[in-house]
Amino acid sequence: MTVSNTTTRTGAAGLSAAPARPTGRRWVARAAGLLGLLPFLAYTGLFLAAPVVMVVVGAFQDNDGAFTTDNVTTAVSDQYGRAFVTSIELSALTAVVGAVLGAVLAQAVLSRRPDGVLRKAVTSASGVLANFGGVQLAFAFIATLGSIGIVTKALAAVGLDIYQGGFTLFGFTGIAIVYIYFQVPLMLIVFTPALEGMREQWREAAENLGATRWQYWRHVAGPVLLPPFLASLLLLFANSLSAFATAEALTNGIIGLVPIQIGALVSGNVVADQQNLGKALGLGMVIVVGLVMAVYYRIQRRTARWLG
């Protein structure tokens, strides 16, 4: 029998004693293992933790660096308070509509052959469209659904003047439509893996046990897909909440959304030296997303106990 050096040195008594402290070589090995984490830690520290700390600190400072709660108080009152309400309403609406439509589209696409043209085309197009935002998207919609857009004119030519009917691309509804345009493909991209993880045998087993299609979705597929659906919904909400350029280009800041208010404060276009109020609004957005995440985790704990 071969006995290790350590055992030989410590003897029988050493075996029952507390584990030996890591030797210098082990510390080196452990430190080397942590080295691999350094790039990740550096990245998240620099681009996530540091900005959040700066936002939090700045939100409670006046222009001279003294502590104040004025920024936070102002951030939740009057036009800024309304901006939060509008942003949350817009984000919730576009997230829910985008998630539902995206999930349905993803399921429809997955029902096609994996190597089929349609499936490949929709998946590829979604990758592009989910990232197709900002000024160019706003222009695309102005050119189609603007007051003299192609679609608007075409509809007017057949007697359906949507602007006469109260619709405008440059209000809440218009922004919601434009946001949904990139939310749907984003949902398709993030939710497709969850749908692909559904086993055909679950459906067949349910059917074999007497389940109709509806009963299968109600008792098996729905509960299994609910946690990833909620996670995707959260992502869409955050995506919509933080979107800036599209709304700014489309409405020129007429609709008061929080990112637009922050943009105005940071650039000093309206009021000078109010960057810290902008940070307070940023802190408000962090809190909103944090609250949504807390609700999400609470729901997930109830709906996905089976995930262990």
């Binding site: 086993r199 045998q201 679950w202 067949e204 087993a205 349910a206 059917e207 074999n208 046990l209 007497g210 389940a211 109709t212 009963q215 008792h219 098996v220 509960p223 299994v224 996905a304 089976w306 262990g308």
Partner: protein
Amino acid sequence: MTVTEAAPEAVKRAGTSVEFRGLRRSFGEVAALDGLDLAIAPGELVALLGPSGCGKTTALRVLAGLEQVDAGEVLVDGGDVTGVPANKRDMGMVFQSYSLFPNLAVRDNVAFGLRLRGVAAATRRRRAQELLELVGLDSHGHRYPHQLSGGQQQRVALARALAIEPRVLLLDEPLSALDAQVRTQLRDEIRRLQLRVGITTLFVTHDQEEALSIADRVGVMRSGRLEQCDTPAELYQRPATAFVAEFVGTMNHVPGVVAGQEVVVAGHRLTLAEPAGARDGQLVKVLLRPESVTLTAEADGQALVSDRSFRGAVTRVTATLPDGTTLLADLPSVTAADLQPGAQAAVRFAPQPVLLAEGE
């Protein structure tokens, strides 16, 4: 783990007869079922055995209603169920890979079918517990599928399939994803359970040992057709075709020369089991089981012993004939002591009718 001795009344039922009549099913150019005929008696366990793509799983899925046929009929207790949807057939199925619903605890998985049938919650719980006792997992009802081993998951799947008191139990390679030890154990438990419950069962497998050890009858399939369906002993000892003979068990391929209704192999005349369709004097390959070959140590014997493998009561001896043919012989270990590598041995064959290998 062992299954409990008494089956609950809920799962004891008279067997159901099943009959396939001329089933045909094609996938594109490939004919998965090509006129399959099979009759299963009430309470019988029939295993469908065959190579990949022979149509055995398609046949099972057709019976489950998960696959439609292009032609033919499926009769259950004499009634035509060919057009009946899967959820109305009352078939209990255990799938190859673990198909438990991941979001439901073990007892809810077992009670799933009962819930769909509107059985009261208390009755569902009691029945699920009975079934879990039957498969030896009564203390695991609160767990979720991912907290169970593969063997335990398949036991739960079995309990779930039995919970709805199915007319027929369908087992689609339920053991193939398990390791060897668990596979053997669960195989025996499935058989004990099936006998106790008395349920008609169709078992699909590509593992001949599994099929031969568990089934009342084994149907060997090839290219969508049934080559032979017989008891394991008949199938092994009297295969109807060369394909069955070669597919089930081990076979020697020994050169021979056709002489009328006989074939001459290494100087011995053996009777052909079926009209060979070969002309007199034609060179053929004769199929011989290792246990049909006898080797005796003799200095002027024509075979040269090259290897031996002790297998308890039997020793498998490998010898080479003068023409280079390798011959396997399963001999009682007590008589094989002299047959060491390098020894010369005389060859004899059991006087049984023999089959010729296909295409040789």
